[in-house]
Symmetry: C2
Subunit: 146 residues, 2 copies
């Protein structure tokens, strides 16, 4: 079997369905975040900061790394979040170059509501997403060889 015949129309459809499931979830996330007064990316920054492991400092650079964005994109997100009153900047205690980002009570309240909404949505749509991912993996080259 050559590489060409390995990519049948059904394989494209598996990939398309997987992407559709991801987009459906992200679309839900987008709408829900906006209903609560923030943008989807801003919500994800709140979640990334609040979900940081113990002992990891909430610096701009750490946040950027976890969101897979450049540090100046994280700067801009924090700018916009500060305007909404959901986070505040603190100067780093040891290293004065650092800026630590902390959620305000308002930020924690929004994040909590969004976390509950997202969990409920994942209860509903998570199995379909897992199923779509499985369909891609089930027919992938390595797995198909077994």
């Amino acid at each position: 079997m050559n590489a060409d015949s390995d990519l049948t129309i059904d394989r494209y459809r598996d990939l398309a369905e997987f992407r559709r499931q991801i987009r459906q979830f992200l679309h839900f996330s987008e709408l829900t975040a906006k209903e609560h007064g923030i943008e989807a990316q801003q919500h994800q920054l709140l979640l990334a900061v609040h979900g940081l492991p113990d002992g990891t400092n909430p610096t701009i650079r750490e946040i950027a790394s976890r969101l897979f964005i450049q540090h100046h994109s994280a700067v801009e997100l924090v700018d916009r979040l500060e305007v909404t009153g959901t986070v505040v900047r603190h100067p780093g205690s040891q290293d004065k170059r650092e800026v630590w980002v902390r959620l305000t009570p308002a930020g924690r309240a929004i994040l909590r509501r969004l976390a509950l909404a997202h969990r409920t949505e994942l209860e509903r749509s998570g199995p379909e997403l897992a199923q779509a991912l499985n369909s891609v993996l089930r027919h992938s080259r390595r797995v198909a060889a077994s």
Copy 2:
């Protein structure tokens, strides 16, 4: 157990890890698409069109529906894809209001390379994504009640 105590720090971390896995995948997708000369959203439109079920026409509206975007956002994506030479517009045969979007040979070639790259990436990172999703669902309210 009230709703507050139900959302412990570990639940936030589960959600954060799930989002991190999704962002990692989308980051890979973004970089890989750009390496092949198109934007990530444009790649997803190509995939959505090529992965359409038999008998479903590739109209702007159908595409918009599958990408969870407004129809005029799909118009703009197709505009940009036409410039790159990966798709062409055809007037609808029956309904002259419709526009059918078709991949060019160049579009199919790019999509094929991207499909292979994404499948390889999902072989690598898919299990972690599934695991992260499971961690969210395992501790969700309904599941926890069992």
